[in-house]
Symmetry: C2
Subunit: 333 residues, 2 copies
Amino acid sequence: MPELRKDPIVNRWVVFSAERAERPTHYRISHSPAPSDGALYCPFCPEHENETPPEVFALPGGRAATADWQLRVIPNRFPALGVEGELQRSGDGLYDRLSGIGAHEVIIEHPSHSATLTTLSHGEIERVLYACRERILDLKRDVRFRSIVVFKNWGAAAGATISHSHSQLIALPVVPKTIAEELEGTREHHARTERCLFCDILHQELHDRSRLIWENSQFVVLAPYAPRFPFETWILPRAHRSHFEEVGEPELLPCAEALSQALLRLSRALDQPPYNLVLHSAPFGEPRPHHYHWHIEIIPKLGHIAGFEWGSGFFINPTLPEAAARFLRELDL
Amino acid sequence: MPELRKDPIVNRWVVFSAERAERPTHYRISHSPAPSDGALYCPFCPEHENETPPEVFALPGGRAATADWQLRVIPNRFPALGVEGELQRSGDGLYDRLSGIGAHEVIIEHPSHSATLTTLSHGEIERVLYACRERILDLKRDVRFRSIVVFKNWGAAAGATISHSHSQLIALPVVPKTIAEELEGTREHHARTERCLFCDILHQELHDRSRLIWENSQFVVLAPYAPRFPFETWILPRAHRSHFEEVGEPELLPCAEALSQALLRLSRALDQPPYNLVLHSAPFGEPRPHHYHWHIEIIPKLGHIAGFEWGSGFFINPTLPEAAARFLRELDL
């Protein structure tokens, strides 16, 4: 059974899924194989549906996949957390731990093996966003869960192990540290000003325009003021809303359009870089936080950036966001 | 001129050293070359001293290097921050920034090109620790600096670009986020209990022993309770002291011995993994924090672990620290 443990110094929860390998020989460095390509057997391709656990959601229809499915959501075959059981809290002297309860699902974004989120049509990306929203609304009813992380690793260097385009969703009994920090920072700003910090950032960025990459009537794509990594890109909704899953259906297509623009521009500028994408949304089960504002963050993985930053939390970025934004903004797509 | 900018949401300072490349083509992924090996020209080898800036410290002697130097400390030729100029703070609407003032030095740990910190004698490692202490004591007199990060990237995958064994030191006008978080967490514990959290952790770990890797009379090597990464290893001094630079000379050799044991065991278990090492020590210029306890953290870089963790602060670790500690503890060196 996996477990969650909290670092008592910085209050960070970590999942230990120790069913996975633990012998040191497992970690010896070898040239990690690239994700399987089209020539190899892919469990996410049509007609291989029996190779994965049965879907919990599919389009069209919302339930079991039809022969001509457009999107499938399945439980992860190697979940980081287990969905069965009771949430048990226990102490261990100074330390705190929780049973490793959670859900871990995979969103197969398209039947085609060679499709990528970057090249899907706006309508197809809208389906992915719709599926995320439906899965969050469903999982949210489980009172054991406090938050859901939706993320996408694209490319082997970003952690993808299957090349067929997919996203992942992990429902957690705790709040991830970054979200907790963002809640804290925005709470302080709200207490002082009675305004949402993200709304204030949007206001300043739309006036200043030097870090703006793209915008439509409902979403803004921008380079943040102090990004840790070159070409880090955020997608912010203009409408203040703490939870992604409360987005109305009319907003999904404009959001898909913004996501498509962000990914296309990064892909063109950086020659299809590996990337990590994370949806930031407020946790459940507490009074709706007026100070939080859901958004999407995309980090292209450009070389071996991760050095002492892991240990110190101190980042050196060789690219000013104004330079990255100008380049992305001025691309001729 | 480099600059520091603060992310207003999570209060994290980031250095922008924009003299470095900023065209996107610079980032296109290629097979990154391994660090130069012995066959190539190495600027850190003896008789190439003129290829580097003049040393700010050397052993033996403490000043200019003699022909038979044992260790040299030089300014980084491509510093992330500049040492000249006045520290200027400015606002930019919502945002805060600082001129990029700081020092960035390189500690060449040994004259031999093939030596590594893992294979140096205890006396040689003691020299490295002594040099760190001397450089911190010197830089600390500069009132512009608030903290110093000493770190080592070993292996190309950990960010090293020169293979000749070296560490780095960056003096900063701000406090790195991880240290700030540790200060906050330990301050809260101290306010509640009037005890140091690290001392409490030591007490519990020395009693429990399941995460203990090695110990001598003054230092303890252990796997932390909730590590983010497999085989993450900490070196804690038994004596409570907030600042590394206040360590007495008699403690340096036992510290070197502990560091040697930690690195040797990781090297043996994981077949010379790339790693990042970071010295965690309290910042300067505020009342001596009774709640902080300096220590060293080592993170082996095992494959492409960094995925969505960057975006969410949420970590999945496949290895329980008890399993890692047992393996490292029981190794027959």
